[in-house]
């Protein structure tokens, strides 16, 4: 009996070890299979290959993308697409390790700054010019494509352009007895009106740390008429940045926006999940056009969400920037670039794919995608209005390092600067110095 137990235990131990080895074996054998399939495909074989698509987003985007991918597989029986998707929170951390370890999906939805962060030497993403026979790049403007060229390689195809713009809860403004602001002066006046008529808790605009940073850049560009970063160099002096900091602080002082402490005290994960946004206590945001639906849909019933205007009295110039919101890139180590390109082309350029995707990733940059959406009323009216205002107004360019994790992260420079200012730990001069030093550090100056 004792001997039997020993034999059983030994068998179990060996099985565990072999199962580990078997995992490796399966992997390598599947590699062999895929390699032979690829070889076969060039000879016209119909053997199915498997590629993987990854993206982040909300539930609506997930549903639309899954449906579109299923349609793609129906029309392309030789390609099986596995899907990996989730919410944005923590997604960048996950993908960075995947890119480093070459375990990322074959096709990846990417943030624009990932091109410089993860593939500044072109080692992570495929040059899409190599698959232009399959992926129709002529549907995209050269200016848009140029924004995705890093290390002389077109590393992604841009899906849409985005920028920040004001959105207001018109219902709360009406309750306060005023119209939605169309100028900075009106916005500042609204702060006091809200306080007097609705109460201390009501604010016409709510700005988190990163929102403050972007609004400050918009203000500075409006006043000084130059890009925030030019040729890899911070284009503003400490004194100029200090003026921007004082502008942001003036909004808090004028009861236009709540303090950071007040927002954190609300205990919400993000502004769109903040009960004070949902019930109209906070009546304005400065957000990406692609985020409009998220904020609009979060509002309680009976409230009207409207797109605001850029303020002409902010300065002499038309401040603000637009940038590629996101793109699709193919991993350089994929075994099936042609199939990957076919999938991207389907999602962005072909009627069947665009019909399902609609404006889930913003207003399409693809000419054919946009035309199909417009002809079939697939564009969300709010997103379309915001996007057209942004593209018509903004004149400045964004450097990709603006979104570097060391600046944008929750323990990054922007958070430190604007929390320090709002908590009263930093004065405007110190805040400007913290910002300038942190940005120069990232820029390598």
């Amino acid at each position: 009996m004792k001997k039997f137990k020993k034999v059983v235990a030994l068998c179990l131990a060996c099985t565990m070890v072999l199962s580990l080895a078997a995992c490796g074996k399966k992997d390598s054998s599947s590699k062999n299979n895929t390699a032979s399939t690829e070889e076969g495909s060039t000879e016209g074989s119909t053997e199915q290959v498997t590629i993987k698509l990854s993206w982040w987003g909300g539930d609506e985007r997930h549903t639309a993308t899954i449906d579109a991918v299923n349609k793609f597989m129906e029309l392309n029986p030789d390609v099986k697409v596995e899907m990996d998707y989730g919410a944005w929170s923590g997604w960048e951390d996950k993908m960075s390790t995947a890119f480093y370890s070459s375990t990322a999906a074959d096709v990846n939805q990417i943030n624009w700054n990932w091109l410089t962060s993860f593939s500044s030497d072109g080692s992570v993403f495929l040059d899409l010019n190599t698959v232009k026979d399959t992926l129709d790049l002529s549907k995209f403007s050269q200016a848009a494509l140029d924004q995705c060229v890093v290390a002389d390689s077109l590393q992604a195809v841009p899906v849409s352009m985005t920028g920040r713009i004001f959105y207001f809860n018109k219902t709360t403004f009406e309750k306060a007895g005023i119209a939605v602001p169309t100028s900075l002066e009106e916005l500042k006046a609204a702060g006091q009106t809200f306080k007097d008529t609705l109460g201390e808790d009501y604010y016409p605009l709510v700005l988190g740390e990163y929102d403050r940073m972007i609004l400050m850049v918009y203000y500075l560009e409006s006043v000084y008429g130059k890009n925030w970063v030019e040729n890899g160099t911070l284009n503003y002096t400490n004194e100029e940045i200090q003026a921007g900091i004082e502008f942001i602080q003036s909004l808090e002082d004028a009861h236009v926006t709540p303090s950071i402490q007040t927002i954190l005290g609300d205990g919400a994960e993000s502004l769109d999940k903040n009960p004070k946004w949902m019930d109209g206590t906070y009546a304005g945001i400065f957000e990406w056009d692609s985020s409009a639906t998220k904020f609009r849909d979060a509002l309680n019933e009976g409230q009207e969400f409207v797109v605001g205007d850029y303020f002409k009295d902010m300065g002499e110039y038309q401040g603000g920037f637009s940038k590629v919101s996101l793109g699709f890139a193919i991993s350089k180590n994929t075994k099936y670039p042609e199939q990957c390109a076919r999938l991207i082309n389907f999602l962005l350029n072909e009627d069947e794919g665009v019909a399902i995707m609609g404006s889930q990733r913003g207003i399409p940059l693809s000419a054919s995608g946009l035309a199909y959406c417009q002809n079939n009323n697939l564009l969300d009216a709010t997103v379309a209005e915001a996007n057209s205002k942004i593209l018509a107004w903004t004149q400045f360019q964004l450097d990709p390092t603006f979104e570097d994790a060391k600046l944008k992260g929750t323990d990054g420079v922007y958070y430190d600067a604007f929390q320090g200012l709002s908590y009263g730990e930093y004065d405007s001069a110190k805040t400007a110095k913290v910002l300038a030093d942190g940005i120069n550090d990232v820029l390598g100056k």
Binding site: K6, A9, L10, A13, C14, M16, V17, L20, E92, D93, S96, T97, F99, Y100, S117, F118, S119, S120, I260, Q261, T262, I263, L264, G265, D266, G267, A268, E269, A405, K406, G409, T410, D411, Y415, D416, Q419, G420, Y423, E425
Partner: protein, 312 residues
């Protein structure tokens, strides 16, 4: 000469390889082989390589360009990292004693023969399972936000509650409370130890007129000091590695008042991709925990009672 050669050939037996015997002799090794492979690949290799990386400026996407002590210099000169170290010590020195006290107190009560004791034991253990989940983070925020449950209740008594989540003075206590609340596992270990205290000691003490408190401090506590010591060391190690609470409730804020070293290590490694710096911070933490554990082991001869080794 030739005869001698023949003799030696006859008398020296040739060793035969026996698979059965080899298997038998190495049976133990085969049993631990799966664990050993896991340990070498997933523990020892990362452990050793992190030490090497800690002396480099290894960036996930820029590689290694410089070697030296610069990461360690940064750790001891950066305000942010020094603050995180301070917060980590504060967090550990608040949570470990409180958690041990709570666990021992509840275990002591649950050791009495009371009705429905198994239900209470389960109920008190549940937070240990739920503690680090996102659902609990949401619940914690709902309880402690400015207009949350706690401040609403304080409002009934005319007290204006503080900004628990957004005031740097209070936020640290919220994540401490979350950890102390998860005292279940330590409690179960204490409960097992309490059951092993001989009943005769209490009977003798009762006859001598000792009350419950006196019995607790003069009999119970000394008899379970080995378990208190064990819980102290494990809780200390865990407290210094705490990540979930501040990550999901406060994200390290406000003003870095809840940024523990583990959070900073994570941010450096996976957000800024500075693996060299992250490795150095992890090693500093490791050395600190080693020193504190060493102090605990050194101190045990003064206060831990081992009944099976001649008292101490």
């Amino acid at each position: 000469m030739a005869k001698n050669a023949v003799d030696s050939a006859v008398f020296v037996p040739k060793k035969k390889f026996s698979m059965k015997k080899t298997m038998k002799n190495n049976m133990g090794f085969f049993f631990i082989l799966p664990w050993l492979i896991g340990f070498l690949v997933f523990r020892l290799y990362p452990f050793a390589s992190s030490l090497v990386y800690s002396f480099t400026d290894f960036h996930l996407f820029n590689g290694i360009n410089e070697t030296g002590l610069m990461n360690y210099q940064e750790i001891f000169t950066s305000d942010k990292i020094l603050k995180a170290l301070k917060v980590t010590f504060k967090y550990s020195f608040i949570t470990v004693p409180l958690k041990l006290t709570a666990a021992l107190f509840i275990a002591y009560i649950l050791n009495f023969k009371i009705k429905g004791v198994n239900l209470f034991r389960t109920a008190y253990y549940i937070p240990s399972i739920l503690g680090g989940s996102v659902a609990i983070a949401v619940l914690w925020k709902a309880i402690f936000r400015d207009d949350g449950l706690v401040n609403t209740m304080l409002g009934f008594f005319g007290i204006e509650g503080p900004h628990w989540l957004s005031d740097p003075k209070y936020a640290i206590f919220i994540i401490c409370l979350l950890r102390v609340w998860q005292f279940g596992s330590a409690m179960v270990i204490f409960l097992a130890a309490l059951k092993n205290v001989p009943e005769e000691l209490y009977e003798a003490a009762s006859i001598d007129g000792a009350g419950k408190w006196r019995q607790f401090f003069k009999i119970t506590v000394p008899m379970i000091t080995p378990v208190i010591f064990y819980n102290l060391v494990t809780q200390l190690c865990q407290a210094f590695q705490e990540f979930n609470g501040p990550y999901i409730i406060t994200h390290g804020g406000p003003r870095n008042s809840t940024t523990l070293m583990s959070l900073l290590v994570y941010n450096s490694a996976f957000q800024s991709h500075e693996m060299g710096l992250a490795s150095a911070m992890a090693w500093v933490m490791f050395i600190i925990v080693m020193i504190l554990t060493g102090i605990a082991f050194w101190s045990q001869k003064h206060w831990v009672y081992y009944s099976d080794s001649d008292g101490r």
